[in-house]
Symmetry: D3
Subunit: 163 residues, 6 copies
Amino acid sequence: MAGDTSIPSDEVQLLECNLDDMTAEAMAFAMDRLLSAGALDVWFTPIYMKKNRPGTMLSVLCRIEDGPALCTLLLQETTTLGVRWQSLARQLAERRMDEVMTPWGLVRRKLKLLGGRVVSAKPEYEDCALLAREHGLPLDQVVDAARRAKPVVGDGEARDDLT
Amino acid sequence: MAGDTSIPSDEVQLLECNLDDMTAEAMAFAMDRLLSAGALDVWFTPIYMKKNRPGTMLSVLCRIEDGPALCTLLLQETTTLGVRWQSLARQLAERRMDEVMTPWGLVRRKLKLLGGRVVSAKPEYEDCALLAREHGLPLDQVVDAARRAKPVVGDGEARDDLT
Amino acid sequence: MAGDTSIPSDEVQLLECNLDDMTAEAMAFAMDRLLSAGALDVWFTPIYMKKNRPGTMLSVLCRIEDGPALCTLLLQETTTLGVRWQSLARQLAERRMDEVMTPWGLVRRKLKLLGGRVVSAKPEYEDCALLAREHGLPLDQVVDAARRAKPVVGDGEARDDLT
Amino acid sequence: MAGDTSIPSDEVQLLECNLDDMTAEAMAFAMDRLLSAGALDVWFTPIYMKKNRPGTMLSVLCRIEDGPALCTLLLQETTTLGVRWQSLARQLAERRMDEVMTPWGLVRRKLKLLGGRVVSAKPEYEDCALLAREHGLPLDQVVDAARRAKPVVGDGEARDDLT
Amino acid sequence: MAGDTSIPSDEVQLLECNLDDMTAEAMAFAMDRLLSAGALDVWFTPIYMKKNRPGTMLSVLCRIEDGPALCTLLLQETTTLGVRWQSLARQLAERRMDEVMTPWGLVRRKLKLLGGRVVSAKPEYEDCALLAREHGLPLDQVVDAARRAKPVVGDGEARDDLT
Amino acid sequence: MAGDTSIPSDEVQLLECNLDDMTAEAMAFAMDRLLSAGALDVWFTPIYMKKNRPGTMLSVLCRIEDGPALCTLLLQETTTLGVRWQSLARQLAERRMDEVMTPWGLVRRKLKLLGGRVVSAKPEYEDCALLAREHGLPLDQVVDAARRAKPVVGDGEARDDLT
């Protein structure tokens, strides 16, 4: 399948700035606000800046149309004086959701498809975490059960498109 | 103000290379030299390279016109055999300086403006560090005093455009 | 089970040194040599050292009786002038191996036991990687199959002590 | 004040393990559970493990008496087969809380005392974050106001023991 | 020589994705496979992702023509649902190999040339590591000997174009 | 030589604290002050703290007798409310200095001895950096020349105790 150009793609924007005069607490707050404002993803990279400063690079991935607003938000919520930005192409796997019944309750799973074929079925973290907390179980046990379970579709019949 | 496209912008160049056969000492020297040669910023990112090598990525941000010279300098001062480069757009906050009087002496502050409004007034690190060293004070105490102080303008009258 | 002091424990030695005048290539070589000489584990931590140096801390975990030899090896194979060392207590899960048959061949699994109960069965990475390479499969598919498979014991009968 | 041995101290336990066969998602879950179970602090350090693995060290700081339970929890909630532990001395600043009124509401502050003298007054992050979210303000603006405000004590009179 | 635009250059592709639901073991396997499939370089960067996850960014540098196949491989071998990609210019030093005789055997060296002049001669790591292992020597000693040795050319005569 | 217990050793103190409410700028200042106050080494480790905070661990290595003063300094110069400390054994290589003449001037070298034998001769970074800056040379070229040069002893005669 290598080189298959039929994989769907889009374009996203990457905004970045280096921070050396902001606390980790305040950076975490900025991450929250950026995610609430529609960022697709936000992350920090530890970097070594000049003058011995253990700095942090803040990266924001967003839709092209959200770029200007998030760029302004970055200037407001962080101490940076300049935000670098660029457009990137992005190749995407197709996704579909299914749902499985575990001994402790329902868990949604994110199916990843390549070339129309399901290549993995990842139990939703939030669902598993909730059940693990409620039943005092190790997360791993719930995830594992959800991975093995047969999907429950609409009318209750089971399906399994995962080889 | 989100999405405000009136924020000024320019274009900069980002040069990068991965290093696995150079000492940390020599990398710090290269950083110095790149900064002396006009780089706007230089930083290191710890990366995990193939064959178990705890490598380092060196990044240089510079003006478009300084790109070729700094790229050559990177090839001379580091062990890399190839430098990657790209142009990035950059959105900038407006800046202005003011000056405040603290109990221990004058401190310059960098004012950051968005849409013509001062949103922060950051005491210059070098000024605060100097006073903290001279007077044996915690840095924090000087920075804090400089943050609260009223700016001293030309003829001595005080101004405060920071809400 | 929290607070259960019946979990077996031993004592190990932790050797550490900071490196700023050695290449990543040479550090990877030292890691190899330390592991060959009997170290239980060796790892690198990226650290920010004085004078802007993107340094690396090298950590070696070993049996108490191997401490002196590995300490000397560290002094020989790295540029450090001093090795810090300390003894640490270590609490251990009990381990047992089993073996499962996947569609592509046998895979050993490391069983982890707490309080006599199997809490996880981890397919050996090397076995899975070998099969994945031989059959051109994603690693994940082999690991997943090995996780679900029933163990094959001596005489061929299946067992499953994993709830 | 250097060398002042009148600073109060206690003893804490540090538990650590290296993880290379666990997802970041599951590690975050383990952090939550460890904090809920009484850990004083939990953090991750990126480390470079053998065989090219971008591993993670998990560290747990806890009271001596919570050590055994948290050690067992680590063995249950992570994939590690061994937890290293040691006792550490800890020197503590004295703390006191006060409260200040900002234009947007009350904010608690953590006062740090050395030798009986208040050396800093840090506005509680959660209080500031709440007000910043409610009023759509940059976090920095709320923190700054709380830092400058005069404390409000019991009967409403203001005090300021911060030089 | 600064600003010398006569340095040869080409264009390469950089593929990147963020991983938070994959083990370090599996990431190392993906690195291997990407390198086997023709990637020029592959590396990991530790990043701090949302929800407290100690994630990892995977970067792949490759020839433009290998981009699509490696992008598909990334989607197959990792848990990512989206791969970002961009083209980067790359400025290259000229390279030439020579060979030197050390007391323990032949070692190849990679010569780096800028403007037609040899600026460094780096002994090949694999050759040095092999000799160090065979003769039980510190790597450093072999590298050092190889650095100082005179190159052996075809007919045995020595040459030295390294000032 | 492995296991040689005749290597000299001493005992040192390691002080550590986690920082999430302090800027990188201020941390660099604290590093300076700790080094000026007699710390043997100071370094930062990037850590992932709770609530998504890209924190930093500050480590200070010092002589036993300097522990209390540096601990107090840490409490004064950083925002931490608690400093962890422990004593570590340290195994040391013997050191001796020599001096070599390069084409650009004298360079001191730190000789490292194990079991009475010189195992490496490392040119002092500061000396090499100075000459490289004065003569506009790559650092590497000066270091390399200093490594190969014969030592100049007292009365001018050359010696070479490096095999």
